[in-house]
């Protein structure tokens, strides 16, 4: 099941990249996708973690929100950098995770890191240790919106 | 012209990162800087591909991106375990 | 059908043998294949030599792309001579290796040894045969990288350090070389050596061209271990497996000399180079330094392999000295010495390998009285030593004779004196061996020694015999060398 969907995704990826649709290249693409799935299977990476297709279209929604967040905080951090006084107030905070799956936690952790001003230092099932550049970025994170959105995005599965 | 401006900007960022790589002081600072240099180089390759009309440079940039992350993680792993092949970095089954 | 493809097959056969060995991974098979490749290379080299003997130039276009667009392989009298030299030494050494290497290299690494051996041979032949500057660099690196591995396969842990040091210096050398080539490429727009030679006069004497010359000189001189760029050589020779030492001493530095000659006389066209920059003077001084300092250092070595390694540095000085004269006689002397030293040092290191097989590390303290226990080996070493000194009736004499003549020809009688004087230092270290081998009572350990196995003695003595034979019959060597010298001085035009 995962293998089939993996194959389809990879093949699509090939066609996107290729841009050429000669019979030779398309068949090669199919062969390549099969080969990769086979190898990946040997590696045991073809599972729900490695290939989270089930997330579906929710991706778009979450990513656009995340993009906006990133832009905002990048802007904030930039202002701090160019500020002659360098007004930082670095701190370590722990945030609880409400996600149920590994993918969910990882998504949350990476989202934290991807947002300038916060990085996830230590990730575990229950909580994430975060280094924040300023008090306000820490506070924003502790408000928990991102956590909620990731959990929602992760879905009920 | 606009590509040139972008390229110069990336180059400046790159040299700043390089400076940090030299300054250190911890190995992690250097690796961080090297990683940023990598990102910069990737972007530079993309911009240069427009600048020089050489679209195949983007492929190169993608390759570079792959290698960048692998390199960073390999270095970290080496510093952590003194070896690249230890299964410690995720091979063992986790508790949950 | 094969005939027109000989120039490329010269390189491709050993190059093909290497991966086959990796795939099969059997020591015995690898040796067989390496031998076959070496013998084939020798056959091809001889055929090529015969075909260019009348002064013809064979050009082979890789992939049918005509030069200067494609890579060209080019055989003329100069490099055909070298091809024969390299492939024949390689053949002798590979036959010798079967016994020697089995004793020095772990069984499971034998295939690796022969793989690297084949690669090294392919690289050396490639350097010699290619007519493309960048391709030359690639072959240079192929031979160098395989050489590093071969050295590291030595038994002593110092082999590792030696290999590392060589890797550092060799890479610096190769990089200097490729920078020089790059500058020439930017100036002429071509990488084809013949084409480059034709285009260079238009941009000659511009700063990048002179810089290119300097880079190439330094780079190549690092590879050929010209004093004081020789620092990698003594340890590399001392701790590499015996067969490797012989191969390196006999071929690798010689091929580098060839590269220098190729660039100096063929690409840069000799005269302009020597006028624009004081190359001749620098080369002369460094050569003299090599001849005296390296020989003196050799006298004080306790390890025989190191001693002969320093001797190599000194002998390379004679070769470059010949080059520095920039005259037919001088170049003849240099080229003959290149040939001579290949035979002699090859023979010496092969024989030392035999001693090493019996006593382990070949030091003066543990070979006392070896002349009685291993008479054939010891006598061969003495003959080789005589050739190093330049005693008449050995090859060594012939080249020194021409070098001295060249010195006198240029009016530098003091130089002739120095050349002869430097031989005296050679006498000193060769004599140390004679005294140890023949005039010391054998230690109890030595007294139990047996002569080296026949499988090693025969190849070694082939070279010893050659170094005596070519000392007596000089028609082939001197004739070939003076032809080569004239061809070289005529330059690329």
């Amino acid at each position: 099941m995962y293998a089939l969907s993996s194959f389809l995704v990879l093949f699509g990826f090939w066609l996107l990249l290729s841009g050429y649709f000669t019979p030779f290249l398309v068949s090669m693409g199919a062969a390549a996708a099969i080969a990769v799935v086979a190898l990946a299977h040997r590696m045991n990476v073809v599972d729900h973690e490695g290939h989270p297709v089930h997330l579906g279209w929710r991706v778009i929604g979450y990513w656009s929100w995340l993009g906006k967040e990133i832009a905002k905080s990048a802007w904030d951090v930039s202002k701090i950098i160019v500020n002659p006084r360098l007004p930082i107030s670095p701190m370590l905070v722990r945030v609880k995770t409400t996600q149920k799956t590994t993918v969910g936690v990882v998504t949350y952790a990476n989202s934290i890191t991807l947002t300038p001003g916060t990085i996830s230092v230590e990730v575990s099932n229950e909580e994430i240790l975060v280094h924040a550049l300023t008090r306000s970025s820490a506070k924003a994170l502790l408000e928990g919106e991102m956590d909620r959105r990731v959990t929602h995005f992760e879905g009920a599965s | 012209m606009m590509f040139a401006v972008a390229a110069i900007a990336v180059l400046i960022a790159l040299s700043l990162a390089l400076a940090r790589a030299f300054l250190g002081p911890t190995v992690f600072d250097r690796v961080l800087a090297a990683n940023t240099v990598g990102t910069g180089a990737m972007l530079l390759l993309a911009v240069v591909s427009f600048l020089g009309g050489r679209p195949e440079f983007i492929d190169l940039a993608i390759v570079y991106g792959f290698l960048n992350v692998i390199g960073t993680i390999a270095v970290l792993k080496y510093f952590r375990y003194g070896s690249l092949g230890e299964p410690g970095a995720g091979g063992e089954e986790r508790q949950w | 059908m094969i005939a027109p493809h000989l120039p490329v097959l010269q390189v491709v056969l050993p190059l093909l043998a290497a991966p086959l060995m990796v795939v099969v991974r059997r020591g015995g098979f690898a040796w067989l294949l390496a031998t076959a490749a070496s013998v084939a290379a020798l056959g091809i080299a001889l055929a090529l030599f015969a075909r260019v003997a009348d002064g013809a130039v064979l050009s082979y276009a890789m992939g049918s792309w005509p030069p200067p667009w494609g890579i060209e392989y080019r055989v003329d009298r100069v490099n055909a001579f070298l091809l024969v030299l390299v492939s024949s030494i390689a053949t002798v050494v590979v036959i010798y290796s079967r016994t020697s290497v089995a004793a020095e290299v772990p069984r499971e690494q034998l295939y690796l040894f022969y793989t690297m051996y084949a690669l090294c041979l392919a690289g050396l032949l490639g350097i010699t045969v290619t007519g493309d500057a960048f391709n030359l660099f690639v072959f240079l690196e192929i031979s160098s990288l395989s050489t590093y591995v071969l050295i590291a396969l030595g038994r002593d842990r110092r082999a590792l350090v030696a290999s590392y040091q060589y890797l550092i210096m060799g890479t610096i050398g190769a990089t200097f070389f490729v920078i020089g080539v790059g500058l020439l490429y930017l100036m002429t727009g071509t990488l084809n050596l013949a084409d480059m030679a034709q285009r260079l006069p238009q941009v000659a004497e511009s700063r990048p061209v002179l810089a290119a010359l300097a880079f190439i000189t330094v780079g190549v001189c690092l590879k050929l271990a010209l004093f004081p760029l020789h620092l990698w050589l003594p340890n590399a020779y001392a701790y590499a497996p015996s067969a490797v030492t012989a191969l390196l001493a006999a071929t690798a530095t010689k091929v580098s000399v060839y590269v220098l000659l190729r660039f100096y006389f063929f690409v840069f066209g000799g005269t302009t180079v020597f006028i624009a920059l004081p190359m001749a003077e620098i080369l002369l001084l460094l050569s003299l330094a090599a001849m005296f300092i390296a020989s003196t250092v050799a006298i004080f070595q306790d390890n025989l392999k190191r001693m002969f390694a320093y001797s190599s540095v000194a002998q390379i000085g004679y070769i470059t000295l010949g080059v520095s004269f920039d005259s037919v006689t001088g170049l003849t002397g240099g080229v003959v010495h290149l040939f001579n030293h290949a035979l002699t040092k090859g023979a010496l290191f092969l024989l030392l390998g035999g001693v090493a097989l019996r006593v382990g590390v070949v030091r003066f303290d543990n070979i006392g009285g070896i002349g009685r226990m291993m008479p054939v080996t010891a006598f061969g070493i003495v003959l080789g030593g005589l050739s190093l000194i330049g005693v008449p009736a050995t090859v060594g004499f012939v080249s020194k004779w021409y070098l001295v003549l060249a010195a006198l020809e240029s009016g530098a009688w003091w130089l002739a004196f120095l050349i002869v004087l430097s031989s005296l230092l050679t006498v000193a270290y060769v004599w140390r061996f004679v005294e140890a081998a023949y005039f010391r009572e054998p230690d109890p350990a030595v007294a139990r020694l047996k002569e080296a196995p026949l499988a090693m003695l025969v190849p070694a003595w082939l070279l010893v015999g050659a170094s005596v034979y070519f000392g007596l019959d000089t028609v082939l060597t001197v004739g070939g060398a003076s032809q080569a010298a004239q061809d070289l001085l005529r330059g690329g035009r």
Binding site: - | - | P392, A393, W401, L424, T474
Partner: protein, 489 residues
């Protein structure tokens, strides 16, 4: 056999003897028989060439063309003939003597000794007959190398040190100076073939000739011109037959032979005389004569005294050659022969004394003439020859040298010759006097009950003493050869 064939045969005989001697190492009698037969055969071969040379022929043979203009070739001319005769003749005597000495002293490694001795003779013949400088150089080096095992025969630390000095000076000098001189000569003259009248005629400037001559004289260390003499006394550690070989048969003779040969056939006597810049050579030779004699005078060790005597006497030859007159050239050639006979007699006697009485110092020799009358009688004859008194051969050669010096009014040389004669009398006659006229030292040692040395030694020493006297009365053959050198062509 053609003369050319004879030359090759003469070279081949001692060479062939080497393996023969080596394989017979378990049968000493066979081994020594081989040596004696070879020596005799060699002498006969060399002697058979004499009539040809006397008849004005110059037999020659080329063995090998090494490089264009460079060949291994042999030409027999009078000087070489003379040297060849002396060397091969004395080899017979020396072999006889060696048998007694080596057995008498129970020396080790006797086989190697005989093998190397044969090799040394082969090299000597090569030197004597060399047709060009290249060939001369080759065999000159070969002689050095093959005599090294002889010098270090005893393998003691002292022997090894002496051997190192021996090889170092001889090889070093020949490469650093002689070889350079040869190459330079080649560059100047375009040839290195020996030619009567010299090959450098009108080829070299005054200054060049001076430097070149110096290179030759000091490069040929075997001639032991001071300061290149150190190796010779040091080599005294070797067994006495070896000393005889060094001092009489081959080595130092090869040196002075080479010097004379170079003067005659490379520079040309007339040419050298016409040019300046050669005055230093008689000075150096004269200095060596006097200085070495004084050292000899002060040495109590018998062999050391004889060694310095050799150094001194060799310079007679060099001096004679340097006088550059026809008469002195004859004297030089003759002195090679007469000194050889005289000195071999003295060394034989010294060795006999050592073998019979184990005495090495002059001061121990009081009254020994009564126990060893033959030996000491021979010693007395040898001494006369060294001093240059009749009825010994030394008189003849010294006479010619002196005549040459006086004829050209080189009074300094005359004075040196006179002083040298007095000094040599001073260091040799007291020995004879002690041996015959002083009472033996009070008996204290346990070797007092000795008589003469073994028979072969006595025979040898008597034979060489006889030869010394005979050459005084019948010098014609050698004179005839020598005269050819001085005469035209």
């Amino acid at each position: 056999m053609t003369p050319a064939g004879t030359i090759l045969f003469a070279l081949a005989v001692p060479l062939a003897a080497m393996p023969l001697i080596a394989v017979s190492h378990r049968a000493p009698n066979v081994r020594e028989a081989v040596t004696l037969v070879t020596a005799t055969l060699l002498f006969l071969l060399v002697a058979s060439l004499t009539p040809h040379v006397l008849a004005g022929e110059r037999p020659e043979v080329t063995v090998l063309h090494v490089l264009p203009g460079l060949r291994v070739a042999f030409t027999v001319e009078p000087l070489g003939m003379l040297f060849g005769l002396i060397a091969s003749g004395l080899w017979i005597v020396n072999s006889l003597y060696s048998i007694g000495y080596m057995r008498g002293n129970q020396e080790r490694h006797q086989t190697r000794f005989y093998v190397c001795f044969a090799g040394a003779l082969a090299s000597t013949v090569g030197i004597a007959f060399a047709g060009n400088l290249f060939t001369l150089f080759l065999f000159y080096e070969a002689l050095t190398l093959i005599t090294y095992p002889l010098v270090t025969h005893h393998r003691t630390e002292e022997a090894r040190r002496a051997g190192r000095l021996y090889i170092g000076m001889l090889v070093g000098g020949s490469i650093a100076f002689l070889l350079v001189a040869i190459i330079w000569t080649w560059a100047l003259a375009g040839t290195i073939e020996f030619e009567p009248g010299g090959i450098l005629r009108e080829k070299a400037s005054n200054a060049t000739v001076g430097v070149l001559l110096a290179l030759y004289v000091f490069g040929i260390c075997k001639a032991a011109v001071m300061p290149m003499h150190r190796w010779l006394p040091a080599a005294m550690v070797a067994p006495t037959p070896v000393s005889a070989l060094l001092h009489a048969v081959a080595v130092v003779k090869a040196g002075v032979f080479a010097v004379v040969k170079v003067v005659i056939y490379v520079f040309g006597v007339a040419e050298l005389a016409a040019l300046g810049n050669t005055e230093w050579l008689p000075l150096v030779a004269g200095f060596t004569i006097i200085a070495a004699s004084i050292v000899a005078l002060r040495s109590d060790n018998l062999k050391r005294r004889l060694a310095y005597s050799t150094v001194s006497q060799l310079s007679y030859v060099v001096l004679a050659a340097a006088l550059l007159t026809p008469l002195s050239i004859i004297g030089a050639a003759l002195h090679i022969a007469t000194h050889a006979l005289g000195k071999i007699t003295l060394f034989f006697a010294a060795g006999a004394i050592y073998t019979a009485a184990h005495k090495t110092e002059v001061s121990q020799l009081d009254g020994i003439g009564r126990r060893m009358p033959w030996t000491m009688g021979a010693f007395a004859i040898g001494s006369l020859s060294m001093i240059g008194l009749p009825p010994a051969a030394g008189f003849v050669s010294k006479w010619y040298i002196l005549s040459g010096a006086m004829a050209t009014g080189q009074w300094g040389a005359v004075a040196v010759l006179a002083a040298g004669t007095l000094l040599s009398a001073g260091y040799l006659m007291p020995i004879v006097y002690r041996a015959f006229f002083l009472p033996p030292a009070p008996a204290g040692g346990h070797h007092e009950a000795h008589g003469e040395a073994p028979l072969t030694m006595v025979v040898a020493v008597s034979a060489s003493a006889f030869g010394t006297v005979a050459l005084f009365f019948y010098p014609e053959a050698l004179l005839a050869l020598s005269r050819q050198l001085a005469g035209p062509g």
